[in-house]
C-alpha cells in the first residue's frame, strides 16, 4: 500500500508538481481579488447598517440581498452560469485564467460575510470612543474596525482559502487543471486510485498547513 503510494509519487512527480502549481496559482490569484472585493463588501455590510457610521436604509438591504443570492448558488452552477462574463473579462473560459473569474464570484461574497462577522466582533464602545475623540469615519474604519478585527479576519481568510482549494477541484471541469482535476481524471476516469490518493494526501497536508498557519497568525495578533 505505502509502497504503491511512494512509487506513484515518484513516477508522477512532475504531474503532481505541475498540478500543485496550478492549484496554487488559482488559489492565490482568486484569493487576492476575492479579498479586495470581500473586504470592501464586508466593511459595507457593517457600516451601512442602521445606526452605524454610514447608515443607509436603501443600500444596506440591497447589498445584503445580493450577497445572499450569490451565496445561494452552488459553485458548479456559477462556473457555468457566468461563462459569458468570464469570457468578457479574461477572454477565455478554460485553464487557470478561466477559473479565476468564477472562483472570485464564488469566494468574494463568502469573504464579505466572514469579514462582516469579524467586524461585528469589535466592541462598538471603541468605535464610540473614537467618535468622541473626533476621528473621521474613514479613520474609524481603518484604525479601529479593521485593526481590532485583524485576528478574526485572518481566521476568516484561512477558512475562505481552504474553501477555495475545494472549489478549484471543481474548476477542473473547465479544464483548469490542479490537484483536484488530476485526482478525478486519473483516479476516476483512468482507474488509477493511487494517483487520486496521493492528490488527496497532498490536499490534506496543504489544508493542515494553512489552518495551522492561520491559527498561529491570528493568535499572535490577538492580544487578549
Amino acid at each position: 500500500m505505502l509502497d504503491s503510494f511512494i512509487n506513484s509519487f515518484v513516477d508522477n512527480y512532475d504531474l503532481y508538481l505541475e498540478s500543485l502549481g496550478e492549484t496554487a496559482a488559482m488559489v492565490i490569484y482568486s484569493l487576492f481579488f476575492s479579498t479586495i472585493i470581500g473586504l470592501f463588501l464586508g466593511v459595507c455590510l457593517v457600516v451601512l447598517r442602521p445606526g452605524h457610521i454610514y447608515e443607509n436604509k436603501v443600500l444596506y438591504p440591497i447589498l445584503n440581498a445580493v450577497i445572499n443570492v450569490l451565496r445561494s448558488v452552488p459553485f458548479i452552477i456559477i462556473l457555468i452560469a457566468i461563462i459569458p462574463i468570464t469570457k468578457w473579462i479574461v477572454h477565455t473560459t478554460i485553464g487557470v485564467k478561466g477559473a479565476i473569474v468564477p472562483l472570485v464570484f464564488y469566494t468574494a461574497p463568502y469573504i464579505a460575510r466572514l469579514i462582516e462577522s469579524a467586524l461585528l466582533e469589535v466592541n462598538p464602545g471603541v468605535v464610540e470612543a473614537f467618535q468622541a475623540m473626533g476621528a473621521s469615519r474613514r479613520q474609524i474604519i481603518w484604525k479601529v474596525m479593521l485593526k481590532e478585527a485583524r485576528p478574526g479576519i485572518v481566521l476568516g481568510l484561512t477558512i475562505a482559502t481552504i474553501g477555495l482549494i475545494g472549489a478549484t477541484a471543481m474548476a477542473g471541469v473547465l479544464g483548469a487543471g490542479g490537484l483536484g482535476d488530476v485526482a478525478i481524471r486519473y483516479g476516476y476516469q483512468r482507474w488509477q486510485p493511487d494517483v487520486m490518493y496521493v492528490c488527496v494526501i497532498i490536499l490534506i497536508l496543504l489544508v493542515q498547513l494553512l489552518q495551522t498557519a492561520g491559527n498561529r497568525i491570528s493568535k499572535k495578533l490577538r492580544k487578549h
Partner: protein, 342 residues
C-alpha cells in the same frame, strides 16, 4: 461653559417613541465637577452624549462656550470633540494596541509629529502612574489600570471638558477611590471641567461640586451637593442620600423614645462645615439646664465639607426647649422636630 437649553431626545423604537431626555436645562460652569445621578434608564447616558453630540438632541440647544453645536459642520464638530475628552464604564480601549498606542491614538488622529507624540504620551503616562506599562496590552491590565489608560487617552489633546460615563461603575471600591482621586487631581491641577454620570451617590459625595438628579428623562432636582444632602426635596434624592448616609432613626427606637412619660421633644440637629466641631450639647446643659440624650447620629464628608446630624431626646419644659432650639439655630444648625411626648 456648557449650556443645555430645553434639550430633549426621543428615540424611535419600532413604532413607539421613547423619551430618553425631556426638556433639560443645565448650566455647567467652567472648572467645576458636575454630577448627574439617576437610576439606570433615567436618561443620563443620553444626556451626557448630547454634550458632545454623539447623540443629537431631537430638540433644544447645546452650547459650549459661545459655540452652538447644531451650527457646526461634521468637520468642525470633530475639531470640537478633540477638546472634549470622554471615558467610559467599559474603558473602550483598543485591545490590539499597547498602552502607548492607545494613549497616542488621539494625537495620531490629530496628525501630530512623532516626537511630539512621544513626549506627550510620556507626560500622560506619568500623570496616571503607568510609566512601567507602556508596552503592555489592555488585557494584561487590571480594571483600574485600564481606566487610567482611558483617562490618559482622553486628556491627550488637552481638553477643556472631560465627560465620564459611569467611569467607576465597573471597579471595586478601592479602585473607585483611586480613580476618583485622580479625577479630582486632574480637575484641580488643570482646571478641566468634569461632567460625570453615575448611579452611585458615593461618587457624587466624594468629588462633585454640583449635582443634578435625573428621573424619567427629566432633571427633578439640582443644586450643590451640600444643598442636596441637607435639604433633599424629592423621594429619589432622599433614596440616593440614604444609600450613602443613613439619617433616620429606626422606627421602633423612635416609638420607644416618644412613649416616655416625661415631657420631651425628639429633635434632629444637622451640622454643616465648621459647626460640626462646636460643643453645642454642652451649651444646652450649661445655659438652659437641658439634658439631651443622644439616640442616633451620623457624620460624613462631602467633598471638602462635613455634614452630620444628631437625633436627640430632650426632656424639659416646652418653653425652655424652645429657647434651646432657637439658640442652636442661631449657631448655624438646622433643627427639626421629629416628635413629642408627654
Amino acid at each position: 461653559m456648557i449650556w443645555m437649553e430645553n434639550v430633549s431626545k426621543i428615540y424611535q423604537q419600532g413604532k413607539q417613541e421613547v423619551d430618553a431626555v425631556k426638556d433639560v436645562n443645565l448650566h455647567i460652569r467652567k472648572g467645576e465637577i458636575f454630577g448627574i445621578i439617576g437610576y439606570s434608564g433615567a436618561g443620563k447616558s443620553s444626556l451626557l452624549r448630547c454634550i458632545n453630540y454623539l447623540e443629537r438632541p431631537t430638540s433644544g440647544h447645546v452650547r459650549i462656550q459661545d459655540t452652538k453645536l447644531a451650527d457646526l459642520s461634521e468637520n468642525q464638530l470633530r475639531m470640537m470633540r478633540r477638546k472634549i475628552g470622554m471615558i467610559f464604564q467599559n474603558f473602550n480601549l483598543l485591545m490590539s494596541s499597547t498602552v502607548y498606542q492607545n494613549i497616542a491614538a488621539p494625537l495620531v488622529l490629530a496628525g501630530l509629529a512623532k516626537q511630539q507624540i512621544q513626549a506627550r504620551v510620556s507626560e500622560l503616562l506619568s500623570l496616571v502612574g503607568l510609566e512601567d506599562k507602556r508596552e503592555a496590552y489592555p488585557a494584561q491590565l487590571s480594571g483600574g489600570q485600564k481606566q487610567r489608560v482611558a483617562i490618559a487617552r482622553a486628556l491627550a489633546n488637552e481638553p477643556e471638558i472631560l465627560l465620564c460615563d459611569e467611569a467607576t461603575s465597573a471597579l471595586d471600591p478601592q479602585t473607585t477611590d483611586s480613580i476618583l482621586d485622580l479625577l479630582l487631581d486632574i480637575n484641580r491641577s488643570y482646571g478641566i471641567t468634569i461632567v460625570l454620570i453615575t448611579h452611585e451617590m458615593y461618587v457624587v459625595k466624594k468629588i462633585c461640586d454640583r449635582v443634578a438628579v435625573m428621573e424619567g428623562g427629566a432633571i427633578v432636582e439640582q443644586g450643590t451637593v451640600l444643598e442636596l444632602f441637607t435639604k433633599p426635596k424629592t423621594e429619589t434624592t432622599k433614596k440616593f442620600i440614604k444609600s450613602v448616609f443613613d439619617a433616620d432613626l429606626p422606627q421602633e427606637l423612635l416609638q420607644q423614645a416618644v412613649d416616655k412619660a416625661v415631657p420631651r421633644k425628639l429633635l434632629r440637629i444637622s451640622f454643616i462645615g465648621e459647626t460640626v466641631s462646636e460643643p453645642i450639647l454642652a451649651d444646652l446643659t450649661l445655659r438652659y439646664q437641658l439634658r439631651p440624650s443622644i439616640l442616633y447620629g451620623n457624620i460624613t464628608k462631602i467633598k471638602d465639607s462635613v455634614f452630620g446630624f444628631l437625633i436627640i431626646s430632650l426632656p424639659g419644659e416646652p418653653s425652655v426647649i424652645q429657647e434651646g432650639m432657637a439658640y442652636m439655630e442661631q449657631n448655624g444648625m438646622q433643627v427639626e422636630v421629629l416628635g413629642h411626648a408627654g
